[in-house]
Symmetry: C2
Subunit: 160 residues, 2 copies
DNA sequence: CTCGAAATGAGAACGAGTCTCAACCGCGGG
DNA sequence: CCCGCGGTTGAGACTCGTTCTCATTTCGAG
Protein backbone atom coordinates (compact mmCIF):
# COMPACT_ATOMS: atom_id res chain seq x y z
CA UNK A 1 0.00 0.00 0.00
CA UNK A 2 2.80 2.43 0.83
CA UNK A 3 4.55 1.66 -2.44
CA UNK A 4 1.23 1.79 -4.26
CA UNK A 5 0.87 5.35 -3.06
CA UNK A 6 4.38 6.06 -4.30
CA UNK A 7 3.59 4.56 -7.70
CA UNK A 8 0.47 6.64 -7.90
CA UNK A 9 2.37 9.79 -7.02
CA UNK A 10 4.88 9.04 -9.75
CA UNK A 11 2.11 8.26 -12.20
CA UNK A 12 0.51 11.61 -11.49
CA UNK A 13 3.78 13.51 -11.74
CA UNK A 14 4.56 11.94 -15.11
CA UNK A 15 1.30 13.29 -16.43
CA UNK A 16 1.57 16.64 -14.62
CA UNK A 17 -1.45 15.83 -12.54
CA UNK A 18 -1.80 16.72 -8.90
CA UNK A 19 -1.84 14.61 -5.82
CA UNK A 20 -4.91 15.77 -3.96
CA UNK A 21 -6.31 14.66 -0.63
CA UNK A 22 -9.31 13.28 -2.49
CA UNK A 23 -7.24 11.14 -4.81
CA UNK A 24 -5.20 9.86 -1.92
CA UNK A 25 -8.31 8.97 0.05
CA UNK A 26 -9.88 7.14 -2.87
CA UNK A 27 -6.74 5.17 -3.60
CA UNK A 28 -6.47 4.25 0.06
CA UNK A 29 -10.12 3.26 0.21
CA UNK A 30 -10.03 0.88 -2.71
CA UNK A 31 -6.76 -0.65 -1.57
CA UNK A 32 -8.28 -0.99 1.87
CA UNK A 33 -10.91 -3.51 0.82
CA UNK A 34 -10.66 -6.85 -0.93
CA UNK A 35 -14.19 -6.71 -2.20
CA UNK A 36 -15.44 -5.71 -5.61
CA UNK A 37 -17.06 -2.35 -5.03
CA UNK A 38 -19.23 0.02 -7.03
CA UNK A 39 -18.46 3.71 -7.30
CA UNK A 40 -21.48 4.38 -5.12
CA UNK A 41 -20.32 2.02 -2.38
CA UNK A 42 -16.93 3.63 -2.44
CA UNK A 43 -18.57 7.03 -2.26
CA UNK A 44 -20.56 6.11 0.83
CA UNK A 45 -17.53 4.54 2.40
CA UNK A 46 -15.59 7.72 1.83
CA UNK A 47 -18.38 9.84 3.27
CA UNK A 48 -18.10 8.09 6.60
CA UNK A 49 -14.33 7.94 6.65
CA UNK A 50 -14.19 11.57 5.63
CA UNK A 51 -16.60 12.89 8.26
CA UNK A 52 -13.80 12.56 10.77
CA UNK A 53 -11.19 14.45 8.76
CA UNK A 54 -13.74 16.89 7.38
CA UNK A 55 -12.89 15.78 3.88
CA UNK A 56 -15.92 15.72 1.61
CA UNK A 57 -15.58 13.90 -1.67
CA UNK A 58 -18.19 14.26 -4.37
CA UNK A 59 -19.56 11.47 -6.46
CA UNK A 60 -18.07 13.13 -9.54
CA UNK A 61 -14.62 12.95 -8.03
CA UNK A 62 -15.05 9.31 -7.16
CA UNK A 63 -15.98 8.51 -10.74
CA UNK A 64 -13.21 10.68 -12.17
CA UNK A 65 -10.57 9.21 -9.92
CA UNK A 66 -11.70 5.67 -10.55
CA UNK A 67 -11.25 6.25 -14.28
CA UNK A 68 -7.85 7.74 -13.64
CA UNK A 69 -6.83 4.79 -11.49
CA UNK A 70 -8.05 2.42 -14.18
CA UNK A 71 -5.95 4.20 -16.81
CA UNK A 72 -2.94 3.88 -14.58
CA UNK A 73 -3.62 0.22 -14.01
CA UNK A 74 -4.19 0.68 -10.28
CA UNK A 75 -7.74 -0.63 -10.44
CA UNK A 76 -9.77 -2.69 -12.83
CA UNK A 77 -13.39 -2.45 -13.83
CA UNK A 78 -15.66 -5.46 -13.91
CA UNK A 79 -19.01 -5.40 -15.66
CA UNK A 80 -21.22 -8.31 -14.77
CA UNK A 81 -24.52 -7.24 -16.23
CA UNK A 82 -26.30 -3.93 -16.81
CA UNK A 83 -27.94 -4.24 -13.41
CA UNK A 84 -25.09 -4.80 -10.96
CA UNK A 85 -23.34 -1.60 -12.04
CA UNK A 86 -19.62 -1.41 -12.67
CA UNK A 87 -17.48 -3.05 -10.02
CA UNK A 88 -13.93 -2.04 -9.22
CA UNK A 89 -11.09 -3.90 -7.58
CA UNK A 90 -7.49 -2.94 -6.98
CA UNK A 91 -4.91 -4.71 -9.10
CA UNK A 92 -1.44 -4.17 -7.65
CA UNK A 93 -0.54 -7.17 -5.58
CA UNK A 94 -3.08 -9.38 -7.35
CA UNK A 95 -2.26 -11.43 -10.38
CA UNK A 96 -4.73 -11.63 -13.23
CA UNK A 97 -7.81 -13.69 -12.49
CA UNK A 98 -11.21 -14.43 -13.92
CA UNK A 99 -14.58 -14.46 -12.17
CA UNK A 100 -17.36 -16.89 -11.45
CA UNK A 101 -20.65 -15.41 -10.32
CA UNK A 102 -23.11 -17.45 -8.30
CA UNK A 103 -26.60 -16.67 -9.51
CA UNK A 104 -28.07 -18.01 -6.28
CA UNK A 105 -26.18 -16.11 -3.59
CA UNK A 106 -24.46 -13.43 -5.64
CA UNK A 107 -21.01 -14.41 -4.51
CA UNK A 108 -18.15 -13.56 -6.86
CA UNK A 109 -15.38 -16.16 -6.91
CA UNK A 110 -11.98 -15.41 -8.36
CA UNK A 111 -9.93 -18.07 -10.05
CA UNK A 112 -6.87 -18.38 -12.16
CA UNK A 113 -5.67 -21.19 -14.39
CA UNK A 114 -2.41 -21.00 -16.25
CA UNK A 115 -3.26 -23.62 -18.80
CA UNK A 116 -6.51 -21.80 -19.53
CA UNK A 117 -4.71 -18.53 -20.05
CA UNK A 118 -2.22 -20.15 -22.40
CA UNK A 119 -4.77 -22.01 -24.48
CA UNK A 120 -6.78 -18.82 -24.64
CA UNK A 121 -3.84 -16.71 -25.76
CA UNK A 122 -2.99 -19.27 -28.42
CA UNK A 123 -6.55 -19.34 -29.75
CA UNK A 124 -6.64 -15.56 -29.94
CA UNK A 125 -3.28 -15.34 -31.69
CA UNK A 126 -4.36 -18.01 -34.13
CA UNK A 127 -7.11 -15.63 -35.24
CA UNK A 128 -4.59 -12.87 -35.96
CA UNK A 129 -5.86 -10.75 -33.12
CA UNK A 130 -3.59 -8.85 -30.77
CA UNK A 131 -5.12 -8.85 -27.29
CA UNK A 132 -4.46 -6.19 -24.70
CA UNK A 133 -6.93 -7.51 -22.13
CA UNK A 134 -9.74 -9.94 -21.65
CA UNK A 135 -12.56 -10.76 -19.27
CA UNK A 136 -13.94 -14.20 -18.64
CA UNK A 137 -17.12 -14.22 -16.58
CA UNK A 138 -18.72 -17.50 -15.65
CA UNK A 139 -22.29 -17.63 -14.37
CA UNK A 140 -23.77 -20.52 -12.44
CA UNK A 141 -23.97 -21.99 -8.97
CA UNK A 142 -21.24 -22.04 -6.35
CA UNK A 143 -20.38 -25.20 -4.42
CA UNK A 144 -22.19 -24.04 -1.31
CA UNK A 145 -25.41 -23.22 -3.12
CA UNK A 146 -25.29 -26.57 -4.92
CA UNK A 147 -25.59 -28.23 -1.52
CA UNK A 148 -28.60 -26.21 -0.46
CA UNK A 149 -30.49 -27.13 -3.61
CA UNK A 150 -30.43 -30.90 -3.01
CA UNK A 151 -34.03 -31.37 -1.86
CA UNK A 152 -35.60 -31.02 -5.31
CA UNK A 153 -35.35 -33.03 -8.54
CA UNK A 154 -32.10 -34.88 -9.10
CA UNK A 155 -29.19 -33.79 -11.29
CA UNK A 156 -29.90 -31.17 -13.91
CA UNK A 157 -27.51 -29.49 -16.30
CA UNK A 158 -27.66 -26.63 -18.76
CA UNK A 159 -25.44 -24.75 -21.09
CA UNK A 160 -25.96 -21.27 -22.47
CA UNK B 1 -36.26 -19.36 -39.29
CA UNK B 2 -39.57 -21.17 -39.92
CA UNK B 3 -38.79 -23.71 -37.23
CA UNK B 4 -37.53 -20.96 -34.97
CA UNK B 5 -40.97 -19.38 -35.22
CA UNK B 6 -42.50 -22.74 -34.35
CA UNK B 7 -40.22 -23.12 -31.34
CA UNK B 8 -41.14 -19.68 -30.21
CA UNK B 9 -44.84 -20.41 -30.55
CA UNK B 10 -44.39 -23.55 -28.47
CA UNK B 11 -42.34 -21.69 -25.90
CA UNK B 12 -45.08 -19.11 -25.53
CA UNK B 13 -47.81 -21.69 -25.28
CA UNK B 14 -45.96 -23.56 -22.56
CA UNK B 15 -45.94 -20.42 -20.49
CA UNK B 16 -49.48 -19.36 -21.42
CA UNK B 17 -48.18 -16.31 -23.19
CA UNK B 18 -49.59 -14.98 -26.41
CA UNK B 19 -48.20 -14.88 -29.88
CA UNK B 20 -48.67 -11.31 -30.95
CA UNK B 21 -47.82 -9.59 -34.21
CA UNK B 22 -45.25 -7.54 -32.34
CA UNK B 23 -43.47 -10.56 -30.95
CA UNK B 24 -43.48 -12.22 -34.34
CA UNK B 25 -42.04 -9.12 -35.98
CA UNK B 26 -39.29 -8.77 -33.40
CA UNK B 27 -38.31 -12.41 -33.64
CA UNK B 28 -38.23 -12.12 -37.41
CA UNK B 29 -36.18 -8.95 -37.26
CA UNK B 30 -33.44 -10.30 -35.06
CA UNK B 31 -33.26 -13.54 -37.00
CA UNK B 32 -33.08 -11.47 -40.15
CA UNK B 33 -29.72 -9.92 -39.36
CA UNK B 34 -26.38 -11.45 -38.55
CA UNK B 35 -25.13 -8.37 -36.76
CA UNK B 36 -25.04 -7.66 -33.06
CA UNK B 37 -27.78 -5.09 -32.57
CA UNK B 38 -28.93 -2.85 -29.77
CA UNK B 39 -32.57 -2.60 -28.73
CA UNK B 40 -32.65 0.87 -30.22
CA UNK B 41 -31.32 -0.27 -33.60
CA UNK B 42 -33.89 -3.02 -33.64
CA UNK B 43 -36.58 -0.52 -32.74
CA UNK B 44 -35.68 1.76 -35.64
CA UNK B 45 -35.45 -1.18 -37.97
CA UNK B 46 -38.93 -2.26 -36.95
CA UNK B 47 -40.31 1.24 -37.41
CA UNK B 48 -39.38 1.22 -41.07
CA UNK B 49 -40.44 -2.35 -41.68
CA UNK B 50 -43.69 -1.69 -39.86
CA UNK B 51 -44.67 1.47 -41.71
CA UNK B 52 -45.74 -0.72 -44.59
CA UNK B 53 -47.93 -3.09 -42.58
CA UNK B 54 -49.11 -0.29 -40.31
CA UNK B 55 -47.68 -2.15 -37.35
CA UNK B 56 -46.23 0.18 -34.76
CA UNK B 57 -44.02 -1.33 -32.11
CA UNK B 58 -43.05 0.65 -29.06
CA UNK B 59 -39.62 0.75 -27.51
CA UNK B 60 -41.06 -0.84 -24.39
CA UNK B 61 -42.27 -3.83 -26.36
CA UNK B 62 -38.90 -4.23 -28.04
CA UNK B 63 -37.20 -4.33 -24.65
CA UNK B 64 -39.81 -6.61 -23.15
CA UNK B 65 -39.68 -9.03 -26.04
CA UNK B 66 -35.91 -9.09 -26.14
CA UNK B 67 -35.88 -10.13 -22.47
CA UNK B 68 -38.45 -12.78 -23.21
CA UNK B 69 -36.44 -14.08 -26.14
CA UNK B 70 -33.35 -14.17 -23.97
CA UNK B 71 -35.15 -16.19 -21.32
CA UNK B 72 -36.23 -18.63 -23.97
CA UNK B 73 -32.72 -18.88 -25.33
CA UNK B 74 -33.68 -17.44 -28.70
CA UNK B 75 -31.32 -14.52 -28.35
CA UNK B 76 -28.30 -13.71 -26.26
CA UNK B 77 -27.23 -10.44 -24.69
CA UNK B 78 -23.67 -9.18 -25.00
CA UNK B 79 -22.39 -6.45 -22.75
CA UNK B 80 -19.12 -4.99 -23.95
CA UNK B 81 -18.76 -1.94 -21.77
CA UNK B 82 -21.18 0.48 -20.14
CA UNK B 83 -21.01 2.69 -23.22
CA UNK B 84 -21.83 0.46 -26.16
CA UNK B 85 -25.17 -0.52 -24.69
CA UNK B 86 -26.43 -4.09 -24.64
CA UNK B 87 -26.07 -5.97 -27.89
CA UNK B 88 -28.27 -8.83 -28.95
CA UNK B 89 -27.76 -11.67 -31.39
CA UNK B 90 -29.90 -14.64 -32.27
CA UNK B 91 -28.66 -17.99 -31.06
CA UNK B 92 -30.53 -20.80 -32.82
CA UNK B 93 -28.41 -22.03 -35.69
CA UNK B 94 -25.23 -20.61 -34.19
CA UNK B 95 -23.01 -22.65 -31.96
CA UNK B 96 -21.51 -21.02 -28.89
CA UNK B 97 -18.76 -18.52 -29.57
CA UNK B 98 -16.75 -15.87 -27.81
CA UNK B 99 -15.96 -12.33 -28.94
CA UNK B 100 -12.92 -10.24 -29.73
CA UNK B 101 -13.46 -6.50 -29.90
CA UNK B 102 -11.12 -4.29 -31.90
CA UNK B 103 -10.53 -1.10 -29.95
CA UNK B 104 -9.38 0.64 -33.12
CA UNK B 105 -12.22 0.03 -35.57
CA UNK B 106 -14.90 -1.31 -33.26
CA UNK B 107 -15.30 -4.55 -35.16
CA UNK B 108 -16.58 -7.53 -33.20
CA UNK B 109 -15.04 -10.84 -34.22
CA UNK B 110 -16.57 -14.13 -33.23
CA UNK B 111 -14.44 -17.18 -32.60
CA UNK B 112 -14.73 -20.62 -31.17
CA UNK B 113 -12.11 -23.00 -29.92
CA UNK B 114 -12.99 -26.45 -28.66
CA UNK B 115 -9.83 -26.96 -26.69
CA UNK B 116 -10.36 -23.61 -25.00
CA UNK B 117 -13.91 -24.54 -24.05
CA UNK B 118 -12.77 -27.83 -22.60
CA UNK B 119 -9.86 -26.48 -20.61
CA UNK B 120 -12.17 -23.77 -19.37
CA UNK B 121 -14.88 -26.19 -18.33
CA UNK B 122 -12.31 -28.30 -16.53
CA UNK B 123 -10.90 -25.32 -14.64
CA UNK B 124 -14.37 -24.26 -13.57
CA UNK B 125 -15.35 -27.74 -12.44
CA UNK B 126 -12.11 -28.05 -10.54
CA UNK B 127 -13.25 -25.10 -8.45
CA UNK B 128 -16.47 -26.85 -7.53
CA UNK B 129 -18.55 -24.40 -9.55
CA UNK B 130 -21.44 -25.45 -11.74
CA UNK B 131 -21.55 -23.21 -14.78
CA UNK B 132 -24.67 -22.47 -16.77
CA UNK B 133 -23.11 -19.92 -19.10
CA UNK B 134 -20.04 -17.84 -19.64
CA UNK B 135 -18.79 -14.86 -21.59
CA UNK B 136 -15.24 -14.38 -22.79
CA UNK B 137 -14.58 -10.93 -24.21
CA UNK B 138 -11.19 -10.12 -25.62
CA UNK B 139 -10.15 -6.53 -26.27
CA UNK B 140 -7.31 -5.49 -28.53
CA UNK B 141 -6.49 -4.88 -32.18
CA UNK B 142 -7.77 -6.83 -35.15
CA UNK B 143 -5.44 -8.05 -37.90
CA UNK B 144 -6.49 -5.32 -40.30
CA UNK B 145 -5.90 -2.51 -37.82
CA UNK B 146 -2.52 -3.96 -36.90
CA UNK B 147 -1.47 -3.34 -40.51
CA UNK B 148 -2.58 0.26 -40.53
CA UNK B 149 -0.56 1.06 -37.42
CA UNK B 150 2.81 0.11 -38.90
CA UNK B 151 4.19 3.60 -39.53
CA UNK B 152 4.90 4.42 -35.89
CA UNK B 153 7.28 2.95 -33.30
CA UNK B 154 8.11 -0.74 -33.72
CA UNK B 155 6.54 -3.65 -31.84
CA UNK B 156 4.74 -2.81 -28.65
CA UNK B 157 2.83 -5.12 -26.35
CA UNK B 158 0.69 -4.79 -23.29
CA UNK B 159 -1.35 -6.91 -20.98
CA UNK B 160 -4.18 -5.86 -18.75
C1' DC C 1 -68.77 -14.02 -30.58
C1' DT C 2 -67.65 -13.04 -25.65
C1' DC C 3 -64.90 -12.25 -22.01
C1' DG C 4 -61.01 -12.20 -18.96
C1' DA C 5 -56.25 -12.03 -19.02
C1' DA C 6 -52.28 -10.80 -21.28
C1' DA C 7 -49.95 -7.31 -24.14
C1' DT C 8 -49.18 -2.91 -25.87
C1' DG C 9 -48.11 2.29 -26.45
C1' DA C 10 -46.85 6.67 -24.84
C1' DG C 11 -44.55 8.88 -21.95
C1' DA C 12 -43.13 9.42 -17.13
C1' DA C 13 -39.71 7.72 -14.13
C1' DC C 14 -35.33 5.82 -12.88
C1' DG C 15 -30.39 5.56 -12.18
C1' DA C 16 -25.58 5.07 -13.36
C1' DG C 17 -22.48 7.93 -15.16
C1' DT C 18 -21.05 12.50 -17.31
C1' DC C 19 -20.84 17.39 -17.81
C1' DT C 20 -20.72 22.29 -16.41
C1' DC C 21 -18.58 25.98 -14.29
C1' DA C 22 -17.50 28.85 -10.43
C1' DA C 23 -14.72 28.29 -6.33
C1' DC C 24 -10.68 26.01 -4.70
C1' DC C 25 -6.01 24.54 -3.99
C1' DG C 26 -1.47 21.98 -5.41
C1' DC C 27 2.84 23.18 -6.36
C1' DG C 28 6.75 25.21 -8.88
C1' DG C 29 8.90 29.77 -9.01
C1' DG C 30 10.46 33.83 -6.95
C1' DC D 1 6.85 32.01 2.65
C1' DC D 2 3.90 33.98 -0.60
C1' DC D 3 2.08 34.20 -5.59
C1' DG D 4 -0.24 32.81 -9.35
C1' DC D 5 -1.17 29.47 -13.02
C1' DG D 6 -3.68 25.85 -14.18
C1' DG D 7 -5.39 21.46 -12.71
C1' DT D 8 -9.23 19.87 -9.44
C1' DT D 9 -13.29 19.81 -7.02
C1' DG D 10 -18.45 20.03 -5.60
C1' DA D 11 -23.18 20.46 -6.52
C1' DG D 12 -26.36 19.70 -9.26
C1' DA D 13 -28.08 19.72 -14.01
C1' DC D 14 -28.06 16.60 -17.61
C1' DT D 15 -27.83 12.32 -20.60
C1' DC D 16 -29.52 8.24 -22.19
C1' DG D 17 -30.46 3.33 -21.86
C1' DT D 18 -33.87 0.84 -19.67
C1' DT D 19 -37.96 0.11 -16.80
C1' DC D 20 -42.39 1.31 -15.08
C1' DT D 21 -47.30 2.90 -15.22
C1' DC D 22 -51.75 2.43 -16.58
C1' DA D 23 -55.45 3.16 -19.83
C1' DT D 24 -56.53 0.82 -23.97
C1' DT D 25 -56.21 -2.94 -27.21
C1' DT D 26 -56.00 -7.66 -28.58
C1' DC D 27 -55.32 -12.63 -28.08
C1' DG D 28 -57.51 -16.94 -27.90
C1' DA D 29 -60.12 -20.45 -25.09
C1' DG D 30 -64.78 -21.74 -24.69
MN1 LIG E 1 -11.60 -9.90 -8.80
MN1 LIG F 1 -21.74 -13.08 -31.57
ZN1 LIG G 1 -23.72 -19.27 -4.14
ZN1 LIG H 1 -9.91 -3.23 -36.20
Amino acid sequence: MKDVAKHFELFLRQRSLRLTRQREAILKAIYGTHRHVTAEELYELLQKAGDAKALRISRATVYRTLSLLAEGGFVQALELGRDRGTLYEHTLGHEHHDHMVCMACGKIIEFHDDELEQVQAAAIRRHGFEATSHRLNVFGTCAKCQEKGKGSAAGEAQAG
